[in-house]
């Protein structure tokens, strides 16, 4: 018997372990160590006015949403319509964090074209070329959506594209609830 013929079996076992994990842990409800913590601040250039900065601090005092997206992200496209509806319905100020997009060196033609095509529901779009803000916020993949309360505490994180049911059953009630809280 030759040991090398066991390699494929062992590799497969490792993969199965991974899958089992993936199945048990609904990717949409990963607990984030950042929940319950003050929202990490960032100061990033605006997509449309690169000379101006967007910061997390200036959002303090109201319930707001941070949505992470990129023009290369296919599921963001699927999410965009749902997200736009959410923003319109709840009138919730939302910052779009454009994560590591193409052509960010010359300020993201792709990102601009994407928003021109699908519509821009964001209050402002922050350009995170290096992905540093993403790192601070503990981002796992694109898209991700965070809800921050009036005190500036991260209260919820949604991994993956927001879909209709998640919007109606999770995000809308949560935002309504958070708005009732005191500052």
């Amino acid at each position: 018997m030759n040991k090398k013929y066991f390699i494929p079996l062992i590799a497969f076992m490792a993969l199965v372990g991974l899958m089992l994990f993936g199945l048990k842990n609904d990717p949409k409800v990963i607990p984030s160590p950042f929940i319950g913590q003050p929202a990490p601040n960032f100061s990033l250039p605006k997509l449309y006015k690169p000379e101006e900065m967007v910061t997390a601090k200036e959002m303090k005092g109201e319930v707001w949403v941070l949505n992470l997206w990129a023009s290369w992200c296919v599921s963001c496209r699927a999410e965009h319509k749902v997200l736009s509806r959410l923003i319109e319905k709840m009138k919730v100020p939302t910052i779009g964090l454009n994560y590591k997009d193409y052509g960010t060196e010359d300020y993201g033609d792709e990102a601009l074209a994407w928003l021109a095509r699908y519509g821009n529901p964001y209050q402002s779009v922050a350009v995170d070329t290096e992905g540093t803000a993403g790192l601070d916020w503990g981002v796992v993949g694109v898209p991700e959506t965070f809800v921050v309360d009036k005190k500036g505490i991260v209260r919820y994180k949604f991994t993956g594209p927001v879909y209709d049911e998640a919007m109606d059953q999770i995000l809308v009630p949560l935002i309504t609830e958070l708005r009732k809280e005191k500052r």
Binding site: L9, L23, G119
Partner: protein, 661 residues
């Protein structure tokens, strides 16, 4: 009544599959010949019962029988007939039934076209296929029965996702499934060989045409999917590295590797254990693809439905199939001693490079696809994976692959002289290098090194293939089909790479706001917005724009991009206007109304985009030619007159070294 018949036929098919999976296999091990002989009739019976089941569900769709839950959920009476048919495999339950039917079809085909295969071997192959069928039918009957009835019968059914109401998508899943499931034949052959403990040239000759045909279906299926995404999604792209796209690409890459490694196994009795492993890997990735699409553990635009319970079942099934075959491999692979030694410069080495590159590509795609999952498990890094990752890894590997490909044609089995190869290849090398640098300089203003690289790779492979076939010095009509197949398929690869290069570098796109009567110029073409009207077709209402496209004042085409509304809370769909051409596509997508008779448009000029799919068509055609090569049909003679025809085969291979690989 009819759905119950379908349900019952499915249960019967499961029973037959169980018999087919157990008795012939056990019989072949304990030497009961009459058990062995069950395999073939059982495979026909299974196919027959599955066909009945499928036709019953089809009938339910065509007769708008909304008492069947699956029909009510996926079809309504307003839909055109074609889409009522394709709605059958538009969602989970029906697509599983199609899977099972296709598997049954492959099984029956193996049973039917297997005259030269020894009965014991055939019995084992069909048994393994029967067991796979058992898994799928159990899955269907336990978790996703398409024949389930509703107590309250709705008057009208729900709408099929409008994205799926399209001809391209109606034929895309069956094609892809034919390919996915077709790999189960090679897999079953591999399992049978491992049980047997013997793997010879005859085995490789049985497995090769089946693998080729499965690969051809995969090729067409993937190309159709890419074409569909291009014109239907209105994104103007042709590949997105989406998890579901990757799931179909991985078995294709492994299948490509397998086709080449099978050649070595047949001709040189080498790469044996490796070939077996590739057979297992190819089918495993097909199953993994099903798992990824259906379980919803990865999010993608394609995952229309997901259900963790079903995911668990597929995972257990995956574990049983792949796990048991890898256990078998671990204990049996040492029996396959590869005898043919080869030197560093030889056709074997070339094909080894091919296989290594293809497997690294597969691993790359697999890693990128599962990355979110891995990150989830270890929650360590925070790097995002998207097209930037795939492109940066796949492109260099592809360059190496194409360079090797050209040399591969001229390499001799066993041992070759570098000087001889150089003598054969300096001409195509020089010509393609010159062409790659001169052509862009003459035709476009801005020089881009990637253009030259793409053109070089494409023309190098094309020239090498053509020079090789000419250098054989035989009449084109006397060449074996496999040789033609190989040349055509590789020229297809060349076409695809040229298409990818040119469209990636030179495509132009523009978002414009146009009022009726205004026009815009893009890449020399004038796009004039003539009018917009509202039209009503059977299953949707659309805003249809008319755009006159002209080049240097001459009208090229009238294009009609549409924005379709399928009603019932469905999101509006973009139907792009496309003017297709051999050297360029013009693509117009209608955006939103901006008031004052003005609309937003997205205009594209996509040079050579068709070449990507034309290349795939050539690849598929080449694979088909190779699968029908005469020597795979000589089997019967080998059995009847073993000595004589074995000599004949030896003779031909002596005369034409490497013609048929």
């Amino acid at each position: 009544m009819i759905p119950e018949i379908g349900h019952f036929a499915l249960i019967l098919a499961l029973s037959v599959a169980l018999v087919q999976g157990v008795f012939p296999l056990v019989g072949s091990l304990i030497g009961k010949n009459h058990w062995v002989s069950i395999a073939k009739p059982a495979s026909f019976a299974q196919m027959f019962l599955l066909t009945i089941s499928f036709v019953c569900l089809l009938y339910a769709f065509l007769s708008n029988d909304f008492s069947v839950k699956y029909v009510a959920n996926n079809s309504n009476s307003q839909m055109p007939t074609l889409f009522r048919v394709s709605a059958l495999w538009g969602a989970h339950e029906g697509s599983l039934l199609l899977w099972a039917l296709v598997l049954g079809g492959w099984g029956a085909a193996v049973g039917f076209f297997s005259k030269g295969i020894p009965p014991v071997m055939l019995a084992r192959v069909l048994s393994v296929m029967g067991l796979i069928g058992v898994g799928f039918m159990l899955f269907m009957l336990l978790t996703s029965n398409p024949f389930e009835r509703l107590l309250q019968i709705p008057l009208e059914g729900r709408q099929l996702n409008p994205l799926l109401q399209d001809f391209g998508l109606a034929v895309h899943p069956p094609m892809l499934y034919m390919g996915y499931v077709g790999l189960s034949v090679a897999f079953s052959f591999a399992i049978a060989a491992m049980i047997d403990g013997k793997l010879d040239a005859a085995w490789a000759r049985w497995a090769r045409p089946w693998t080729n045909i499965a690969w051809v279906f995969l090729t067409f299926g993937i190309a159709l999917g890419s074409w569909w995404a291009y014109y239907e999604l209105g994104w103007g792209g042709w590949w997105f590295w989406d998890p579901v796209e990757n799931a179909s690409l991985m078995p294709w890459i492994v299948g490509t590797a397998l086709i080449h490694s099978l050649a070595v196994t047949e001709k040189r009795a080498s790469f044996k254990a490796w070939t077996i492993l590739l057979c297992i890997l190819g089918f495993s990735l097909s199953l993994l693809g099903t798992f990824l699409v259906r379980s919803g553990i990865l999010t993608s635009v394609h995952s229309f439905a997901s259900d963790p319970e079903r995911g668990l079942f597929i995972l257990i099934f995956l574990l049983a199939v792949i796990g048991s075959s890898l256990v078998l491999f671990a204990f049996r692979a040492h029996k396959f001693r590869s005898v043919g030694a080869f030197s560093l410069v030889s056709r074997e080495s070339g094909l080894l490079v091919n296989n290594v590159i293809l497997i690294v590509m597969t691993a790359t795609v697999l890693l990128g696809t599962l990355y979110p999952l891995i990150i989830d498990a270890f929650s360590s890094g925070k790097i995002s994976v998207g097209p930037p990752y795939f492109n940066s890894v796949i492109i260099p590997l592809g360059v190496l692959l194409y360079i090797t490909m050209g040399f591969g044609f001229f390499l001799r089995w066993k041992k070759d002289e570098p000087s001889r190869i150089l003598k054969k290849t300096w001409l195509p090398l020089t010509v393609s290098l010159v062409a790659a640098f001169v052509l862009p300089l003459v035709t476009v203003s801005d020089f881009n090194i990637m253009t030259s690289l793409g053109l070089f790779l494409g023309s190098w492979v094309t020239l090498a293939a053509l020079m090789w076939v000419l250098s054989l010095g035989r009449s084109p009509f006397k060449l074996p089909m496999a040789a033609w197949g190989s040349v055509i398929a590789h020229i297809g690869m060349a076409m695809t790479v040229i298409g990818i290069t040119l469209v990636s570098i030179y495509d132009t796109e523009k978002d414009v706001r146009l009022e009726v009567g205004q026009s815009y110029e893009l890449a020399g073409y004038n796009f004039a917005f003539k009018k917009i009207e509202s039209v009503k077709v059977d299953n949707y209402i659309a805003n249809r724009a008319t755009m006159d496209v002209s080049l240097n004042g001459e009208l090229v085409n009238n294009m009609h991009p549409e924005k379709r509304d399928y009603g019932r809370d469905q999101m509006p769909m973009t139907e792009a206007g496309i003017d297709a051409g051999f050297t360029r596509d013009l693509f117009v997508a209608l955006g939103e109304p901006l008031g004052n008779n003005a609309w937003s448009f997205r205009l594209y000029h996509k040079p050579f985009v068709r070449w990507i799919w034309l290349g795939a068509v050539l690849m598929g055609f080449g694979g088909l030619l190779a699968a029908f090569d005469k020597r795979y049909r000589r089997m019967k003679k080998i059995v009847v007159e073993p000595v004589q025809s074995a000599n004949k085969i030896k003779d031909t291979s002596k005369n034409t070294p490497g013609v048929t690989a």
